[in-house]
Symmetry: D2
Subunit: 256 residues, 4 copies
C-alpha cells in the first residue's frame, strides 16, 4: 500500500448552495471543512469530490488511488449514478475503507453494502446529543473520553435498520428520550466501513473537535491494507482425488 494514506472526502454540496444557514457554517462546503481538519495530518493526502462534478468527481483514477472514502449525502441520494455506486462498491470489497456520515445512512453505497433498509427515526428540534464511548480500546475512540456532547443536533432514533454491527463504538442519548447506535463498524469484503451519526447540515457539527478526532481516527482505522480483485476460480485439487470415469463426459458441460 501507499505509505501516504490517500483520503477522498465526498460531499453532496447542494444544501450549501441553497440554504444560507448551511452556507454560513460551511462556506466552501461540508466536504471542504472535513478535508481541512484532515489535511494537517502529515500521513494523509486529502482530496475532495462532489455530486455535480463529472462522474461525481469519482473517476476510475480517483477511486483507484483512494485508500479511504468519506461520504456525506442527504437530499440527492437518487442523483448518484448507479454505475458510480457500483464502482465504489467494488473498491470497498477490494479493500478501500469507507466512512459514512449522518444522513448518508440512506446513501445508495451504504444501503447496497449493508443490504438492509438503513431506516431510523428522526427529528429536527432542539435535542442535545451525548455520545457514549462503548469501546474505549478501539482505535476510533483514542483520545475521546467516556462521552462527548453536541449541544444541538438532529435526533436519530432506534430501531436503526442495519445488520448487527461487528463493533459497536458509540451509543447516543438524546434529550427527547431516544437512543441510537451512532458509531458502528462492519467489514465487507476486504474493506472496512464505519458509520458515524453526527453531522446535520444546519449545525456546526464538523467544527466540533471531538467529531473531528473521531473522523481522523476512523480514517487511520479504515485504511486499505490490500486490494484484492474479485474472482471465483476453478481450482485444481491440492490432494490426490480418486479417478473419475465420467470426467471426459462432464468436461463438456459448462459451470457457474
Amino acid at each position: 500500500m501507499n505509505p501516504t494514506l490517500r483520503v477522498t472526502v465526498w460531499g453532496e454540496f447542494r444544501h450549501e448552495k441553497k440554504n444560507p444557514k448551511v452556507a454560513a457554517l460551511y462556506p466552501r462546503g461540508m466536504h471542504e471543512t472535513i478535508a481541512d481538519f484532515l489535511r494537517p495530518h502529515s500521513d494523509f493526502t486529502v482530496r475532495t469530490a462532489w455530486l455535480d462534478q463529472p462522474e461525481h468527481g469519482l473517476t476510475d483514477a480517483v477511486l483507484a488511488s483512494t485508500d479511504v472514502l468519506i461520504w456525506w449525502g442527504h437530499q440527492a441520494h437518487d442523483d448518484v449514478h448507479n454505475d458510480v455506486v457500483a464502482k465504489i462498491k467494488t473498491r470497498v470489497l477490494e479493500g478501500m475503507g469507507l466512512i459514512v456520515l449522518h444522513s448518508a445512512h440512506y446513501s445508495k453505497i451504504f444501503k447496497t453494502l449493508l443490504g438492509t433498509t438503513c431506516s431510523l427515526k428522526w427529528r429536527e428540534a432542539t435535542d442535545k446529543e451525548r455520545l457514549w464511548n462503548i469501546n474505549p480500546a478501539h482505535p476510533i475512540t483514542q483520545g475521546i473520553g467516556e462521552y462527548f456532547e453536541i449541544p444541538a443536533e438532529e435526533m436519530y432514533g432506534e430501531p436503526f435498520g442495519i445488520p448487527e454491527p461487528e463493533q459497536l463504538i458509540f451509543i447516543s442519548w438524546f434529550t427527547g428520550g431516544e437512543v441510537f447506535r451512532s458509531g458502528a463498524t462492519w467489514q465487507r469484503g476486504n474493506g472496512r466501513i464505519f458509520y458515524f451519526r453526527p453531522g446535520h447540515e444546519t449545525y456546526p457539527t464538523y467544527h466540533h473537535p471531538q467529531v473531528q478526532l473521531v473522523i481522523t481516527n476512523a480514517v487511520r482505522w479504515a485504511r486499505a491494507t490490500v486490494c484484492i480483485p474479485d474472482h471465483c476460480p476453478n481450482a485444481p485439487a491440492l490432494e490426490p482425488l480418486p479417478p473419475d470415469p465420467e470426467a471426459a463426459a462432464r468436461s463438456t458441460i459448462g459451470h457457474v
Copy 2:
C-alpha cells in the same frame, strides 16, 4: 403469524430439462424433490415456484403468504427480474425467512442481502464432502451428529466472499484439500437467512437424509415471526425539549 408454516420452494428448473443426468436424479425438478421431503411435516404448507413461470411464480400474493422461501439457482441468475428480487428483499427485511442453497451463493437475492461478492473456489471432480457440525446446540443441527458425509459433490473452497457469519453452523472438508463455511446464518432486517452449501445438480444430494434434515430444521428456524414494513418516521419527542426560537423558520425546510 399463521399457525402453519408456509414454505415456498423456488427452483431454476432449467438443468433438469436439458441435462439427462439431472433429469434422471430430479425428474420433476429439484424444487419438487425438496418440496416432497418437506410436505410430510404436518406443520408445513409447501408450494413450489420456478423461473419460467409468470413473475417466476412469485407474485405479490405468493410472497405475502410465504413464511420461508427456499432458493436454488445456478445457470440463469441473470434471468431473474430485478423487480422480483426487490420484492423478495423487501419481504426478507420485513421478516420472511430465506434459505439459500448451493450455487445460489451467486443469486441476485443472496448478493443483494449480503452486500458482498459471494465468490468462492470451485471444482467439479471426484471430491467427497464431510460437513462438520460446529454448533451442536443450534436448532438447525438437531439430529445431525458430529458430521455427515456426501460421497460425491462439487467442491466449494475458501475464501468465500461473505460477511462474517453471525452463527457458523457447518465447515466442510473436501478430499482435494479445501475447506468451506458450508452452513452459516445472518439476520437482515427482521428476516433470518441460512446458507447451506450442498446441492450440485448432477448429484443426488437432495435425496440425502441428513441434507433433508438440515433443510427441514432450517425451515423451522427461519420462520417469520413478524412482518414489519419499512418506515423512517419523523418522531415527536418523548421528553420535554428546550424552546426553539428558530422553529418557525425551519419548518419550511424539507428533510430526508
Copy 3:
C-alpha cells in the same frame, strides 16, 4: 428434551428479610414474584431456590432437571459457593439456558461465563428508564412495542464490561443522561445466556407487565435443546494417513 420447560428461579432473598421497603414490594421474595408470573404458562414447570438453602437450593438433581435458570443476586455474590458456581457453569455449557437479572451482572456465574469485568456505572436516584427495542424480530421482544418505560429504576450506564453481545436486544435511556445495553444475548458452549437489566430491589419492577413479558419470552428462547457433556477425545483418522515410522516410539508418550 422434556416436553415441559423446567424453570428454576434463583433469588438471593436477603434484602427482602432486612429492608422493609423491599419486603413490602416482594413479601415472599423477588424469586417468588418472578415464579408467580411464569407459573400460569402451561408449558412451564417452575421451581424456586435461594441462597440460604443447603447448596443454595441447587443440588445436582435440581440442576440436572433445569432447562432454564433465572438468577438474581446483589449484596451477597461472595456467599455463593464456588463449587456450586462451577456446577452451574458446567450445566450452561452442556446446554442449560441462563437468564441473568439486574445486579447479577456482578454474580460469579455471569462473570465466569463472560470472562470480563461486567462493571458499569450506577446511580440510585430518580431516573426514569426507557428501554428501546432494537431487534423487533427477536423471540425475546415479541409483544413488546418500540419501547417501554419503567417510571423509577436504578441507573446503569456505559461502558458495560461485557464481550460484544451476539444479539443486542434493548438499549436503555435514562433521565440523568446515560445509556445502557440493557438486553443482550450470548451463546456459551451449548447454552444460551440473556442479560436483562431492570430489577432493583427497591422498585416494583418485577410487577411491571412488560418486564414480565420479556422474561417470559426469554425463558422460551433460552430453553435447553441439548445436553452435551464436555469431552476432549482422541479421535482416529477418518481418511487414510501415510505410514508413520515413529508411531511405535511415540505411542509411549502421554498427551493432553
Copy 4:
C-alpha cells in the same frame, strides 16, 4: 503507550527438558525460538518467561510492562498459580494483548477469558495441516497467501468449545478428514486475544516461516492501545433529575 512494543513470550519449558526429540528441535526452549524470530523486528522489545521461574517469571513489574503476552503450555496447566492467572486476566482486561498457541487452548488464562470448555478433538499421527486464509484483509494475514501447509502436525478437530469468534482468520484442513478454526480473535475488556492452533512440541512448527509471520503480525495487531483499570463508579446525573423525597432515608443504605 510505549513507542516500543514490549512482548513477553511465556513457555512451559518442561517438554524440552524431558523429551530429547523436543530438545533437539528447541534446544533453549520453544519460548526462546519464538523470541528469536521476533527480536530482529526493531519495533519490538522481547523478553521470555517460563513456568519454573519465581512467579512463573510474570511479576507485577513484568506484566505492567508487557504490551503483548504470548503463551504456550501443555502438560502443566495445573501448575500455573491461580493468582498469577488472575493478574494476567486483569492485564488483558485493562488492555494487554494475548496470543494463545496450540495446546494452550487448555491453559487457565484462555479458559477463564473465554468462559467455555475450549475442548476439541485431537490426534497425534501423520496428518498434514493446511491452513486456509479466510480473511485476507486482516492485519494478521498480511503476507500470507491463500493458504500454507505444515507437513506434519498434531490434528485438532471440531467441535472446538469456544465462543463464536469475532473474526475467523484461518480454517485448517487435515489429512485424516477433520477441519478446525485454527486462527480466531476476540476482544475481552480492552485487550485483544488471538488463538493460533499450530505448534505441537514434537514438530519444528515454530521454525516454519509462515507460522513465524502469523505470530509476528499478531503481535502488532494485539498490541495494547490503552490501560484502563476496572472500576464500577457511582455516577452523578448529567441531566436534571426530578426531586426525590426519600433521598435522605435512602442515603443510609449501602449498595453494590
